[in-house]
Symmetry: C5
Subunit: 89 residues, 5 copies
């Protein structure tokens, strides 16, 4: 899993049918200090994350396919947690 | 999934038979601002993306193999959505 | 597996249920000399690693899912060893 | 899949038995413009690629294991296409 | 697979039981010219690689789990070949 910050939505009218009805969120991986680290990922979001919120994202394709309920889905990254605002380091 | 921009086609007469008949698209992952991020990927394209179009690509090998209908296919990256031109951030 | 240094905890009240009860540790991959290398990962921790401790982390989703006892879990990275303080190079 | 350029062979007398008889090719991922991008990969080569030739490589371990005919093989990257010299962008 | 150079051992008294009895080797991926490329990986070593030796490493978790004989093992990277000293480019 990666710590990431929500950068916005991606809308795609034409897409794999398993992605219909899911919010697609552009997530920038970050360090503990909030510095961008590596390539932004587009994740499905079952949690309703807000813009600029810190989230946990996972690249586990098996779990993402189970979440969308479609074994043929290309979904791979998923928001799996919303980071609490005041966390102890 | 990654947000990416179509950079062109790749043509390979000699290739794995499961790739015959598929367009092979060179996709540059980008940030929300359109900046290149990380290594370009060659993806199969069931959607007919145009040059310089923004797309969503997925690295899910299982879904790609199901798309080409060949469990022995080395296909792994696939274009899974065409990003709408005017998206809300 | 990667050699990494513990950078802190991540707390997320709202998260995938399979992650409940697990410590989520932000781990910075490092070189033999301790230099940061690549993107920090959030790993589950069955070993009780301390802050700034050097650890081994693995990205094996299958093993992580077995550790949490939930085949639908998005857990993927796990702390799989605590590095001894005085190691022979 | 990645677009890559052949950088040379790697010879290893002592290796996993499933790799016996396969050419092991060091492949540098490149952009459309031929610029090196990311980490060089060692791939098995069923196509007979030449030095400095542009190729497509795939990281699909399942397909590579099927190619070598050994489910226990650690082979993961494979050359899956030879890029035509004069391609349309 | 990656071409890599052995940078040293990692010793971890407390670790996943499937790793007991295995040498854990810190491997720096390198280019054909020997330049470091990307993040160092900790690999299990069934071949007895020496310090600074060039090796082939694979990230295939399935093969690594079969090597250690434990389907629940988090082992993922493995040394799968020792590169010959005088190789033809």
């Amino acid at each position: 899993m990666l710590l990431a910050r929500v950068e916005g939505n991606v809308t795609a009218t034409r897409k794999h049918p398993s992605l219909n009805g899911w919010r697609l969120i552009l997530c920038q991986p970050i360090s503990a200090a909030g510095k961008p680290e590596g390539v932004p990922q587009v994740a499905i979001d079952p949690h309703g994350a807000g813009l600029h919120q810190r989230v946990l994202i996972s690249s586990d394709g098996l779990a993402a396919r189970k979440a969308v309920g479609n074994e043929r889905s290309p979904a791979r990254w998923m928001i799996v947690g919303l980071v609490d605002e005041k966390e102890a380091a």
